[in-house]
């Protein structure tokens, strides 16, 4: 048994000498677009940043403001993230030359029963030129990840001028 000790000792020395480094972590994967550090710095900035991205037609920026499991609902219909992104891309299509204008009223903050999240409520109005595309009272649950905030859940009451109606017939 004692004859094995020098072998064990040598193995330990090689271990330390850098022949192999079992203490280094794996290489991380490249971050997805939605997690690439383009969230908002505070919870109340999420609807503001969302509007800025809409006004300037930045689809990637909007997607970065949505969590991977984001969804929107009006109580009757629910759009998962993929459908919400498709809808936004359609609204932001380059073929539509007149830019969008996103206006919001006072943002109120409420307690959320989910950890690392905040609920913000506001009235919004989306216009293309002089044409009203959508308006509603929205309630957003925004989620903190690291030091950034993103939209997790968007809910509003069913309305003919609501966002889901806009997605049903983008214009």
């Amino acid at each position: 048994m004692r004859g094995c000790l020098p072998v064990l000792l040598l193995a330990g020395i090689l271990f330390l000498a850098g022949c192999t480094d079992p203490f280094s972590p794996v290489d991380p994967e490249t971050p997805t677009t939605s997690s690439a550090g383009q969230g908002s710095t505070i919870a109340q900035r999420v609807p503001v940043d969302f509007g800025s991205a809409l006004d300037s037609g930045q689809s990637a920026r909007i997607q970065a403001l949505l969590t991977d499991s984001a969804q929107m609902t009006d109580g009757a219909t629910t759009l998962p993230r993929s459908q919400l992104v498709t809808c936004l891309d359609s609204i932001l299509s380059p073929s539509r030359s007149v830019p969008l204008v996103w206006e919001i009223g006072t943002i109120s903050t409420a307690y959320s029963n989910l950890s690392d999240s905040t609920v913000v409520s506001f009235h919004y109005q989306l216009n293309r030129g002089a044409t009203l595309l959508a308006q509603a009272n929205a309630t957003w649950t925004v989620l903190e990840s690291g030091t950034e905030w993103r939209l997790q859940s968007w809910s509003e009451t069913p309305s003919s001028t609501g966002w889901i109606q806009l997605c049903a017939s983008p214009r």
Partner: protein, 605 residues
């Protein structure tokens, strides 16, 4: 074979009590132990109480009392647990009280082949005076008012073996089953000690344990089952002036909360350690340790009977399951010499990697529990002075830490960070004292002794995939003071501590602070001997903190806070006991102020 009837800690007769009041919250604790001979047998009794009063003057408390009597082959045991809450509150209907009692008897007898055995019988009962806020044991159900159950069981044990000392134990305790009050337990264990070399130069200890518990009680507000299984071995092998130690164990445990309030957990773990330590000669000594552990956890939430809820919770339980692996290595080399006063240097490299994976969640989103690798490499160098030594306290220490916190999955890898931190500390308190001693001063008599120390820390945090995001921290601090009077019991100690912390960003290799925290902490204490055994210690301390923010044109004062307190301690020691008491006044700006106080006492009977 004495797992149920032993009273841990009941060794000598004594009474002790303590109390504390701070920030409006009061606590009171007491303990009484009686060890005696009664009716020709040995008697042990233990009583503990613990009460807490909150800032609204509402009190709650727990108590435990037990007594054990042993004579010849007969053992008697009585245990009592009590709980009360809502006392002295504005609404008496909220108050509730509950107790649970257990009485057990055991008759011990010998069996062939050196086996020792015992037969047990007893009873268990509980009673509640419920209040309007008392929770039912099962969610949505009213709390029970009382229940009882009979207990019976047996235990057996064997110890022996001349060349291989071995112990075997087994216990079975059953209740009536399916009642509102349940306590049953089964356990078994085996252990042996031997030498593989055969000459006693090495030692091998191996063990195996198995345990299961079923407890349902309104008093403890619990309805749970627990089980655990463990096997392990430890082998110590001396080689010249060094010792190899090999440890390995495997553990499996399960826990179920049948009320559904907490998640159930299944844990499987395997652990191993290799340790090599000893003297190398010429003043050198070494200590190497390599540890490896693997743990698998699975979670189970009690089913509600609502299909949609159970399905969602079951899916979440699967996503939460994790596998954690930890690999740790520490190498320490020490050198000691008697030249120049017997300096001791110590260098240690510690490396660790903690890997967490969620194997049942192959496609995590950003809000799921993350896969994570936390890699830490730390180098510590310490210097101890032989003559300039105060116990194991180092004179100077340097520590460098490199930490990589990697989130491997694409949905979470944006959080990947790297931290570099350097710290140093020089503690001059003992050195200055020893300097006076080396200079021939009699520091045990009434002398003024200087106190002092300095420390510093710098930290750099960078985000791998967000190069615009960086954090830096710089801290420096010092302390200075004077101590007057005998070394063992100084009359007066005055100390002044100041430290500053800069935080900001790291543009390139530079540091751009945008906040400065500046703190002072003066402290003064004294000792006034009233009699040989009574000492009065008045004290006062304060901490002032300023925070300044950089607003692109200059430093702007933002926050100032103050925490101060003044008070007095009294200690009184006599031949069979001691009493310590303190009272003071504390105020915070901004914040709360009020009186603080406490006492502790112990008397041996």
């Amino acid at each position: 074979m004495d797992t149920v009837f032993s009273l841990p800690g009941a060794d000598t007769s004594r009474v002790s009590a303590s109390g504390q009041h701070q920030t409006g919250v009061s606590t009171l604790r007491s303990q009484a132990i009686d060890v005696d001979s009664i009716l020709g047998g040995s008697w042990k009794a233990l009583d503990t109480t613990s009460f807490r009063g909150d800032e609204h003057g509402i009190w709650s408390g727990n108590a435990f009392a037990s007594g054990a009597w042993t004579r010849d082959s007969l053992d008697l045991l009585w245990r009592w647990w009590g709980h009360t809450s809502g006392l002295l509150g504005p609404d008496p209907s909220v108050a509730d009280h509950a107790w649970l009692q257990e009485a057990l008897s055991r008759w011990r007898f010998a069996l062939p082949w050196g086996l020792q055995a015992g037969a047990m019988a007893g009873a268990l009962a509980e009673r509640q005076d419920t209040g309007t806020a008392t929770l039912g044991l099962d969610p949505g159900q009213p709390p029970g008012e009382g229940a009882a159950s009979a207990l019976w069981g047996g235990e057996a044990g064997w110890s022996g073996g001349k060349t291989i000392p071995t112990t075997l134990d087994a216990l079975v305790m059953e209740d009536q089953g399916d009642g509102r009050l349940r306590l049953s337990r089964r356990s078994a264990g085996a252990a042996f000690l031997t030498s593989l070399a055969g000459d006693g130069s090495d030692s091998l200890r191996a063990f195996a344990d198995w345990d299961s518990l079923r407890l349902r009680s309104q008093t403890f507000l619990t309805d749970r089952s627990e089980g655990s299984r463990e096997i392990g071995a430890s082998w110590a092998l001396p080689v010249r002036h060094n010792v190899w130690t090999f440890d390995g164990s495997w553990v499996s445990s399960d826990r179920r909360d049948l009320t559904g309030r907490d998640q159930g957990q299944d844990l499987t773990g395997a652990y191993g350690d290799i340790d090599f330590a000893g003297i190398l000669g010429a003043g050198w000594s070494q200590h190497q340790r390599l540890s490896r552990s693997m743990e698998d956890r699975a979670w189970t939430t009690q089913r509600t009977g609502i299909p949609a809820t159970d399905s969602a919770q079951s899916a979440q339980d699967r996503l939460d399951g994790d596998r954690t692996g930890i690999l740790q290595l520490s190498d320490t080399l020490r050198w000691t010499t008697k030249c120049g006063g017997g300096w001791t240097a110590s260098a240690g490299l510690t490396q660790s990697l903690r890997q967490v994976r969620h194997p049942d969640n192959p496609d995590p989103v950003s809000t799921d529990r993350p896969d994570e690798d936390l890699s830490r490499r730390s180098l510590t160098v310490s210097v101890f002075g032989g003559e300039w030594d105060w116990g194991q306290h180092p004179l100077a220490t340097w520590n460098t830490l490199l930490q990589e916190d990697v989130f491997p999955r694409a949905s979470q890898s944006i959080q990947t960070t790297r931290r570099l931190e350097n710290r140093f500390a020089i503690d001059l308190d003992p050195s200055l004292l020893d300097a006076a001693r080396l200079a021939g001063r009699d520091t045990s008599s009434h002398w003024l002794r200087p106190l002092g120390g300095v420390w510093g820390r710098e930290q750099r945090n960078r985000w791998r995939f967000d190069t615009s995001r960086t954090e830096g921290l710089l801290e420096e601090g010092w302390s200075a003071g004077l101590e007057a009077g005998p070394e063992s019991r100084p009359w007066v100690v005055l100390r002044w501590v100041r430290w500053r912390v800069w935080t900001g960003t790291l543009p390139g290799q530079d540091f751009a602070p945008d906040q400065i925290q500046d703190s002072w902490a003066p402290e003064l204490s004294g000792a006034i001997p009233l009699m040989d055994s009574i000492v009065l210690r008045p004290w006062a301390k304060s901490q002032v903190e300023h925070i300044r923010i950089w607003n692109d044109s200059g430093w702007v004062p933002e926050v100032r806070s103050l925490n101060s307190s003044v008070g007095m301690d009294l200690s009184w020691a006599w031949s069979i006991g001691w009493l310590r008491a303190n009272a003071g006044w504390e105020w915070n700006e901004p914040g709360w102020g009020g009186w603080t106080g406490g006492f502790s006492a112990q008397v041996f009977l």
